[in-house]
Each structure stands twice: as structure tokens, then as C-alpha cells.
Amino acid sequence: MRAALSWIFATLMLSVIIHIITIHTIPYAVMHRAMSRMSENAGGVNKPSFPPAPTATSRGVVRPSPDLLYVACVYDVDKNPVRFTGLVPDGYWSLSFFADNSDNFYAIDDRKLPSKSVDVLLASEDQEVQPHPGETLVISPSDKGVALFRFLVTGPAAREAMDKLRHQSGCAPA
């Protein structure tokens, strides 16, 4: 009887530990899978990809917004900082960064920019970098992660122009 109770107690303790590890691992696993797929589409890391407008056949990310066009960049700042540049439209636009645990650690939108262009230098915590004048320095809490440019498409008539504009966005090692 005592042996059975000990077995049950040990099993429950072990299952609690596995439960906690699983919960903590899920965001990393989901991000890893998303980053693998996105970097494959872009032809590598620190390169932009320009996914088509989301439709019912899109399986890139869950709950995609059909009213946005995206530019995605899987970054790796392990060896070098990465520079993000692009032109900014009238209307909602944002550039957001997600660490390898899925946290959105930085975002900037068109209202916070002084001009119609963006220039962000992303570096790791241990890199000593000097941003260009007018360039925003952002420190990534993880070496790898994802940056997303979001372009709002307010209607079918605006889609083509917004698609052209998003192709002016990019990321590359600095």
C-alpha cells in the first residue's frame, strides 16, 4: 500500500514538472517552426520575404489578418547587427520584433516616426554598435527572432500600391 502511494506521489510530481516544462517550451517550439518556414521562404535568415495576401489557403501563421500585407524577416544578430529599412505609407503601418519565445519586445508605428521612412538597427545585448544619425537602436533579448512589417490595406483599390511600397522594405546584416 505504501509502495503504491509512493508511486502515485512520485508520478504526480514528475507529471507536474513535465507540465511546467511543456508550457514553457510551447512558445519556443512554435516560434522555431515559424522561423524555419519563414527563413526558407526568404532564402535564409536576415533576408525579407513578401508573403501573398492571406486567403483561406494560407497556413503560414494562425489567424492571419486579411486586411494587412506583411514583410517578414527572420533575424539572427549572433554575429552582426541587422538593419531594417523601408518606406512608410499614409495610414496604419508598423514594424514589430518578436524574440524566440514569441514576446513582442519592440514595435513602432507610422505615428511615432518623424518621416515616411524607417531605419532600425537591431543588435544583441553584448554588441557595441553605433547607429547612424536618425537610426533607432533596438536590443534583441534573443539572438534569433522575427520582424514583421505590417501594411494596412483599406480596400481592393489600395492593394497594388501598398504591395509595391512593401517591396521597398528589407533587412540585411549591418
Binding site: 514528475l14 507540465h19 512558445p27 515559424a34 489557403t57 494560407s58 494562425v62 514589430s96 514569441s102
Partner: protein, 185 residues
Amino acid sequence: MLLVALALGVGSAIWVTQRGINVSIVRVGPWQSELASGSEKADPYTRAVVALNGLFALTPAQSLYFTATMDSGGKPLMVNCTYKLTGRDLPARWWSVTAYGPDNYLIPNSQERYSVAKTGLLREADGSFNISVSPDAGAGNWIPTGMPADSQTFILMIRLYNPEEALVKNPQDATLPAITLESCS
């Protein structure tokens, strides 16, 4: 012992994330929002739920998300039913309502229409709006829910980009559209 512990540990983690159980949910009628979405302050459960159901979600200061899986009467949203969303413009620079299947992807429909947004929305004389959510084409604002034969549930999501500061501070006070069940086929 290890196999049993694995089954219990992983199984309970999946159950919790699928149920969306966490401590940072705000409910407004049939709508609910994960306030810690995307935040570095998110608890592990919220982070896991958001990674599975809303990867790349922005923080509330940038964008607020409300989802509904039930109508205002508390019944699950079904693709073979017709619903009417009634409300007024939402306090954000731009907003939209989108329908997703239970797999969290956009619902196939012949018109490739997936959302209704602030821009392009038809409004009544008093500024209010009605949005039909149904498998059949409706006059005016309409979000398709696919084919009735599918007979499955769906999800509605409101996105609010650049929400007003008062809404970010007190999302529980938001006035969101009512979801009224009209009929089922």
C-alpha cells in the same frame, strides 16, 4: 512511471492551452481579450496560448484583439447559422471583424471575403452598423461563414489598431458589437 507522467504532464498542458485558461483575460459580453498578448510580462500560460492561437500578436498599446466563440446568448457560433452584429464605431484608429474556422484559419468562400472593416463599412443614419455573419450572401455588410454543410463552429475576431488610450487602460469598459442569433439552416 515515466510514460504515465509524460501523458499526464503533456496532456494537461495541451488541455490548459486549448481551454485558454489563464489569468489575464478580460471579458466583454461574448468577447474576450488576452491582455498580456505579446507582452514580455505575460505569464507562461498566456505566452503558450498566444503562441498557439495568435502568434505575432502585438501588445495592447499597439493593437487590441477581442475574440468570440459564442453569441450574446451564450451559444457556440455555428457556420450553418445566421448572426447579426450590431454596434457603433469602435474607439480605435482602424478596426476590423474577421471570421476564422475552428482551425484558426480564414474560412473558404466563393467571394474570398473574410472581414468587414472600419473603412468600407456601411452605416445607418445614426452612425450605428449591422453586420450579417452567415453562409448566405446578405445585403450590406456581410461576413461569410462558408458552406452550411460544414456544420462546424467558427470564431470572430475584432482587431483594433492604435486603440484609444482610455480603451487600453480599461478594455473591460469597451462597448463591443452584440452577436445576435437570427436563424439556423
